[in-house]
Symmetry: C2
Subunit: 355 residues, 2 copies
DNA sequence: CACAGAAGGTAAACCGATTTATTTTCAGAT
DNA sequence: ATCTGAAAATAAATCGGTTTACCTTCTGTG
């Protein structure tokens, strides 16, 4: 157990003294250097055991150019997506022997830039940045200025300086277009809310491009707003209020989780039933969507994959074994078809008996 | 801007050289010591400006017994509650000039204990621990053994060694009992799922105690399970399947967010309508609950308050200005009454927010 | 047997700050 | 002009490791 009663943590010198060798030797043993006699190695290990020695990771990093730390800056920690991403990043970098420092920019660009500088102060080996806005935001600019090693995630498109990892928003949205057009929809509303980020724009673009290519006469309405909650509610309200039932879209594609929630709420207020009157597909899948009534069709992003990819990419940059060119990874999404976009009982569901 | 082209971060010695003073003087200036001539102070500030100097927080902490870091260990980062808690903790400790290191134990006690040891390696000034299980878990034990400064949050009751901060689970649940009994319910199901933690037990206890005190003849069924998803679904299914409609409870109080989701799903599968056939109240309020149909009545925990309280308590411990006794803070919750627990149209039907 | 070369070990420098102990400066009193 | 004590400045020690440069031993070979 070796429970020292008072705060005196044993240092590497204590271990050295106990083992009867020098601190340098202890350091070698602990790092698995070959040039140590088996006997001494053993004595060091014994000393470590009996003293309960643990290395101070900060002191250890002091002399090095960079420390075994990876910084992660995310726009928020409350949404399930970034929560899951944080967990994934932590797991992956820990597996590689790095400590992760997670910080939230709370959707503020200033804070984002400040956090980048702070990560630099900590001399992190590398940074994962999920920008508030895009690869042209203040955080990425700070990364560039400070010449830091980083990977950009989620709300970005290709960048010539940093590797990027995103869900394949374009393709996934194009697939939603395929799906909705095949289901016979010819008038579709695209809705984006709260934060019109790079990702949202790409989704919009992916859907429109494919839909127009497939069927030029399709009518696509677009409703984007970056305002406060009340304004957004009203925007949707006005949209539906201002048109007769025949002139209404038969499907909505909401471009983010939050947007889905908003649309759902407003459709209900108008008494427009899903999926009878209108179909709903959302981007980003969350646990409540499969339990909701009706359950919500949604594009699921491969968060875990994105996290591992981001860390792997960052690590290979850190170790310098990458090409000079930056790479853009697009991870494939999965469309979870559920009741909200299916008429009749085409999809077998245990949850029957509507009202 | 002072953009040095190459990686050479300026050190305090560079600043000293530029300003023509010693490193010790620079350190004094930067810490606002009085005994520095105004002129030198100015030159130092100029040098800091022109070199773009930023202190290395790790090197700065090396000499001190403890560093200006606060560690936070949470059971998961994906749930909205802990996500919000993480954000709040980060904000509060940052305001006090501490860096926060957030780590997730991923519901594993072993990992929790390991993370505590790791926080100790980092020589954090203090630790916020939301245990996987309770104050008797492995994490708390490790904190005790290492004689660390810590505050326990959320899944705990009183402890004689550490201060604790929790929502007032007992009182909030008692209020739910008041509410449901007043609404005429005499047969109520209490459901807990996934992780039967300290908090869940307290909620159970709070409800039962109050309900029995108020009305001894009330029938309270309890369904708790800690198993995998499939088993839990089946447990609820069997419960409802095994009893005739007259023998069914008229209300369900689900003791956690996840439990609410499960119950909701199973009730729908059985065609039991909310709130006509059965009322539903959940513990823990999440954004989808106010948009769901019907919207879900839920106990909202004051996450932000809990976070600030936890940090404030920890800081006063760190600065040693606390009594020798440990304190238990119970934060008041708020019952958000919505459609799922209201018969008729007592609650205005459209989902209006703000206004 | 002498000697080159490898293997094993260590003292000391170093990382970037803070803090202590000491020295220098300078104003005011004698 | 000299002395005193406070104020200001600094050299050096320190924190806990890593790394370098150098010193001892061995080992094997000509």
């Amino acid at each position: 157990m070796a429970t020292e009663s008072k705060h005196k943590r044993p240092t590497i010198h204590d271990v050295a003294r106990t083992a009867g060798v020098s601190a340098a030797t202890v350091s070698k043993v602990l790092h698995g250097s070959a040039s140590v006699k088996a006997e001494n190695s053993l004595r060091v290990h014994d000393a470590v055991q009996s003293l309960g020695y643990r290395m101070d990771p900060l002191a250890a990093g002091l002399r090095l150019e960079q420390r075994r730390i990876i910084g992660a800056i995310l726009p928020d920690l409350q949404s399930p997506f970034f929560g899951a991403l944080a967990t994934g990043l932590e797991r992956a970098s820990e597996a590689a022997g790095f400590t992760t420092i997670i910080a939230s920019s709370r959707e503020s660009e200033e804070r984002e830039a400040d956090l980048v500088a702070r990560m630099n102060d900590w001399r992190v080996a590398g940074t994962i940045l999920a920008p508030v806005r895009s690869e042209r935001g203040m955080g990425a600019a700070a990364l560039r200025t400070l010449d830091m090693c980083a990977v950009l995630v989620d709300r970005v498109s290709a960048d010539d300086r940093f590797d990027t990892v995103t869900a394949d928003n374009f393709e996934a949205s194009a697939n939603v277009a395929d799906f909705l057009l095949a289901a016979g929809h010819r008038h579709i509303l695209l809705h984006g809310a709260t934060r019109i980020s790079k990702a949202v724009r790409t989704r919009l673009d992916g859907f429109s491009t494919r839909a127009r290519a497939l069927m030029p006469e399709v009518q696509i309405d677009t409703l984007l707003s970056d305002d406060d909650l009340e304004t957004q509610h009203r925007a949707i309200h006005d949209y539906f209020d201002s048109r007769s039932p025949e002139d209404r879209p038969t499907a909505v594609f909401s471009l983010s989780q939050y947007s889905t929630l908003l649309v759902l709420s407003e459709l209900r207020r108008h008494g427009i039933r899903i999926p009878d009157h209108i179909a709903l597909v959302g981007f980003d899948d969350v646990d409540w969507m499969q339990t909701a009534w009706p359950s919500i069709t949604a594009v699921a992003q491969p968060v875990e994959t994105m996290a591992s990819r981001a860390i792997a990419t960052l690590l290979s940059r850190i170790e310098g074994k990458s090409t000079g060119f930056s790479v853009q990874y697009l991870e494939t999404c999965d469309l979870q078809v559920r009741q909200s976009a299916v008429l009749g009982e085409k999809i077998p569901r245990p949850i029957v008996r509507g009202r």
